[in-house]
Amino acid sequence: MFAVEIKTEQASPTQIDTLPERTLGKPLLDKKVSMHCREVDVFYGDKQAIFDVSLDIGKNEVLAMIGPSGCGKSTFLRCLNRMNDTINSCKITGSIRLDGEDIYDPKVDIELLRARVGMVFQKPNPFPKSVYENVAYGPRIHGLTRDKIELDEIVKNSLMRAGLWKEVKDRLDDVGTGLSGGQQQRLCIARAIAINPEVILMDEPCSALDPIATAIVEELIDELRQRYTIVIVTHSMQQAARVSQRTAYFHLGKLVEVDKTDRLFTNPSHGLTEAYITGRFG
């Protein structure tokens, strides 16, 4: 992962206590849970990257994950749709369940899982194909449509929901990589929602975008919440505050605190969280 912003090192806060024994705030929910994560540990070879994270992700909520670089938030995000499987040395223990089904069960079809848990990456990565083909890719490989008309419909709807339709409706045959950065990222979002996932993971989706494109994408995230569950990793605390209902603060591979976003930002329970959100380090 590439950290985009430049950080100025500040003296580490003196009054910050050590990491808490267990996660503070409210990591677990009582009802309407989309994904259950329990006691998740992640290892890269011998190095442990995630320590004992237990967290529920509610249906139709936007959960923001914040924390300093290297705190494991992206790693944790990639566990949720098993993107870490592509890294050989990566080992995951604990349980992650999607609607009650353990996603690391050997019987689980990893392709179907990823169709249910979509992902948008830090850097826009449209395929070097036309705009249309980019969006049609998912429905095609999963055989979601019977004919061209249905596919056209899906492409159009996805682009509309991604707020891109007006801009690209006359250039569906243009190469996706020829769009502007913000448009490319919305194309990637359209591509992800074209297969109608339940959860969308976003890994710093705005860090390569300018402020205007960022605002558009943030608005989009808020709209997408009506239909999807969204987990977003971000380096921008303002962004977390703007788009999310709950926020999780990670530190050195541990989940320090999870709470309703406004409570976490106004009244953090832990010194580390407070130090981070007030900009004293990170």
């Binding site: 993107m83 592509t86 392709e111 990456f121 395929f127 194909k129 890719y137 998912g138 999963h142 591509r191």
Partner: protein, 446 residues
Amino acid sequence: MAAYWLGCRYSMQQVAGDRRQLHSMPRYYGYYVALWTALPAVFLLLLWRFLDQGLIVSMVAAELPDIIRNLPVAELHLYLNDVLNLAKGNITSADVDATMQAAADHFKHLQALSDMSLLASLIGMVVAGAALALRQINPEFRSRPRVETLVRWMLAISASIAILTTLGIVLSVLFEAIRFFQMVPVADFLFGLHWSPQVAMREDQVGASGAFGFVPLLAGTMLVALIAMTVAVPIGLMSAIYLAEFAGAHLRTWAKPLLEILAGIPTVVYGFFAALVVAPLLRDGGSMIGLDVSSESALAAGLVMGIMIIPFVSSLSDDVINAVPQAMRDGSYALGATRAETILRVIVPAALPGIVGGILLAVSRAIGETMIVVMAAGLTANLTANPLESVTTITVQIVTLLVGDQEFDSTKTLAAFALGLALFIVTLLLNVLALHVVKRYREEYE
């Protein structure tokens, strides 16, 4: 070496051992002196060697008796050649007489004189160069930029040698081809359907039609190249995909060089493999199922050539597939695509321009390939699309035209230049096309 040491020492002496006062590091003063010592002397040596022979010979010629001097130019040359041979102790063609002996002695004398003066002036040049360079040295002397300029010039000269040589070859082929086209019309060459380059030397000679139709050769070349590509492209591409996407890092590190060794096997080895193993195998196999396979067939040559160019396709394809950003793969996997879907629908299309570039390079290699087709494809210029028959290619004909004793300016010999030019143009076009395609690919992700 000595000059380098001297330059270093002298520059240090100038500042009494305090290198901080020097403009450049002492070794640059050393390089400067060394270069000035060596380069002029080397140039002098080359120039001298280039000129002295002609000069001495003309001096010897001037001393010859009038009778010989008034001989026709060709005979005079012959005579002078004899003199040279005599002087060097080789065999002469004419009988040695007193004049010739005298001339030879004169030549030897002049040669010795020339060598002596060369040595003297070389030493002079070395000393002068070194002294001149040493004189320039003082603490403010900016030796580093000077040395770097000199080095840059040397590099530029080296680079231009390759370019000039290419240019020279192209031009010489072009001019000889033009001479050929003065004898045989261009249209006959380009569109003629018959190739039998036997030119009658006497009026009554039999079997010398002297037809220079280029089409059968081009067709043969294309047929063999086509067969080669049908072998090389699928195998090369699939092995590239396997190596790039499936093979572990360990397998890759030894499998890829191993595959590239295929390209390192001398083509003559492939040639006799094709002629002695593959061709008889095809003939016997063909007769078993009732096909009449010629013992020298386009198929045999094409198959073996295909094996030979597999690494061109696979190695380049492997590189471009690896160059497809991981983000593309992630994007595809994140949409729930399987590995096969990702490879077929994202990676190969994204790498396609690069792959096509690699294939085009392989094609131009196949067209230019000589040894395999000489041995396995045959010599008769058949205009056929049947891969079981023997065909001939442009390169094979160039070889047969020039093998053996030839007049240097007969139509037959000059035809080789025309063929060479045609071959050159075809491969050049393919290369330009390949480079163009590869260049477009580079712009894809930026």
